[in-house]
């Protein structure tokens, strides 16, 4: 039995890497525009070569994000239709039950820990948050990029609404990533300091046992391992 399991294929790793890079650049070029009165915003914009350069970097990164979202969806739909993969990201009833059980566990109301499949409810939440966020931020971003063309298709009143949505959705995304994603992928004691699986594509079997037992069982054609009986790590690891 191998110690490692391939969790992410090359395309998924590349998609994550592109999202990560453009997201950082988008925050770096977008936030100073939102907080334009702050001193740091002016220092940052000047460092990036002025507001015009800042906006071009932002637009190019935005278009890259839009393109990668389209490619991601095209691939996902194709893969699902050709039945190569299951609907592993689709939220199910189990996710809601898992979330409740997980919270009960955190609160110490139960010693039973949810048994997760390929993606747990937190990962699905973040994924769909990103997808819906992208839809809002890309469509509003395009309206702001081409305001006169947008006015041909939508009422002019929607342009400032798009600006409001873009600016706040950007802040929401920034906060979600800095609080939630940084915690789950870096500061979470289970993975601290760095969950490398999205870069290497590999995850240890040990982690699979604890974090994705249902998927592991399916992969290995057996019944889910009872994590609570797994022993060695006891309850200590069962917090993720």
């Amino acid at each position: 039995m191998s110690d490692y399991i391939v969790r992410f294929n090359l395309q998924q790793r590349v998609e994550h890497f592109i999202s990560m890079v453009v997201f950082c650049l988008l925050c770096l070029t977008g936030l100073p525009q939102k907080f334009y009165t702050a001193g740091w915003a002016h220092t940052l914009v000047a460092g990036l070569g002025g507001i015009d350069a800042t906006r071009w970097i932002h637009r190019i990164c935005g278009l890259t994000l839009a393109l990668s979202t389209v490619v991601h969806f095209a691939n996902a739909i194709y893969a699902m239709l050709s039945k190569r993969v299951g609907f592993s990201m689709v939220p199910t009833r189990k996710d809601f039950e898992d979330a409740i059980l997980q919270l009960k566990y955190y609160l110490g109301l139960t010693e039973e820990h949810p048994h997760y499949d390929r993606y747990d409810y937190k990962q699905k939440f973040e994924y769909w948050g990103l997808i819906f966020g992208n839809l809002i931020i890309i469509s509003s971003g395009l309206i702001l990029f081409f305001p006169t063309s947008a006015a041909l298709l939508i009422p002019g009143e929607l342009i400032p609404a798009a600006k409001m949505a873009h600016s706040n959705e950007g802040l929401l995304a920034f906060l979600t990533i800095t609080i939630w994603h940084i915690f789950n992928a870096h500061l979470n004691p289970d993975v601290f300091p760095f969950d490398a699986s999205i870069f290497t594509g590999k995850i240890s079997r040990e982690r699979m046992v604890h974090e994705h037992p249902v998927e592991l069982a399916r992969l290995e054609g057996g019944a889910p391992i009872d994590v609570h009986a797994a022993g060695a790590h006891g309850n200590r690891r069962e917090v993720g």
Binding site: Q33, L107, P155, I159, P160, M164, F183
Partner: protein, 346 residues
Amino acid sequence: MTKTGLAILLAGIASTAWAGIPAEQEDCLGCHTDPAQTFDLPSGEKLSLFVDQEAFAKSVHGEALRCTECHADKTSDHATGELKFKTRREVTKAYYEQCKGCHFANYTKTLDGVHFAVMAKGNDKAALCVDCHGAHDISHPAQPRTRISKMCARCHAKEAEVYANSVHGRAAETSPDVPVCTDCHRAHDTTDPRDGALARRTPEICGRCHGDEKLMARYGLSTKVIDTYLADFHGMAASFQKGKKSGPGVRLAAVCTDCHGVHDIQKPTDPQSTVMAANLQKTCQKCHPDANASFPKAWLSHYEPTPQKAPIVWGVLLFYKILIPFMMGGLVLQIALHLWRVVVNR
């Protein structure tokens, strides 16, 4: 001292005011008394040698200066019939340096001004101290304030005429609040408006009055115009473009004057106004050539988003004002619970 006594004393001072000015301590005024007295310059111009003693006595310098304090090189035996100047303008230019001795700060400012820059490039007509202030008849420039605009109009007639018909120009005669030329362009370090640097500063320049609660209350005008402008796409971009100069290939965000006009600013309710609803599409098209009739509605007309003025924008803002704290609160709470359980398990 009684009131009558004070009045007599003041009358006495007033009546002797120009009889005993310092300039009389020198011999100059003995000769320079004839209005017809002139000197023929090589250019063919006649240089008047007449000094209107009464006008000089009433001027700001009347009580303070003797003739040779400005005309330093002149002595009582200077009437040799020789002058180094070829033209009338050369005489004026020669005296540019004379004011510096006392008015050093303002003199230094002029060196940064557009008039000095233009003169340095060889334009003899560019304004020097005396062109604006006068020579022997210098009085306080802002009495009355409208005198300033009239003075600029002597050279800038076209601009002055447009200004006179604007909302500011029309009110200038009766209101002490409206701007005259120097309020925006400055007096000594007058900015060259052509490179766009002055325009970049209009949110601040216009804001000095239009952000002043007390002043605007007198006219029933909103002081939110500056903040609402800055919060919008143009204002935010403009605040990052401070100090940037216009030129080929440089796109600068619209500032106050790009929409409202410069010298021709009118009330937004005036049919001539560039920002009147009916004229707005044309104004937008100056920068956005493809702007259709719906495009100007993208601008909230300096209103803050409220359910009445901009319900959609207001709704979106409200949505995020609730969603962001709710979402972040939930995530932070879950992280806190998670870490708490980690600690408990240990």
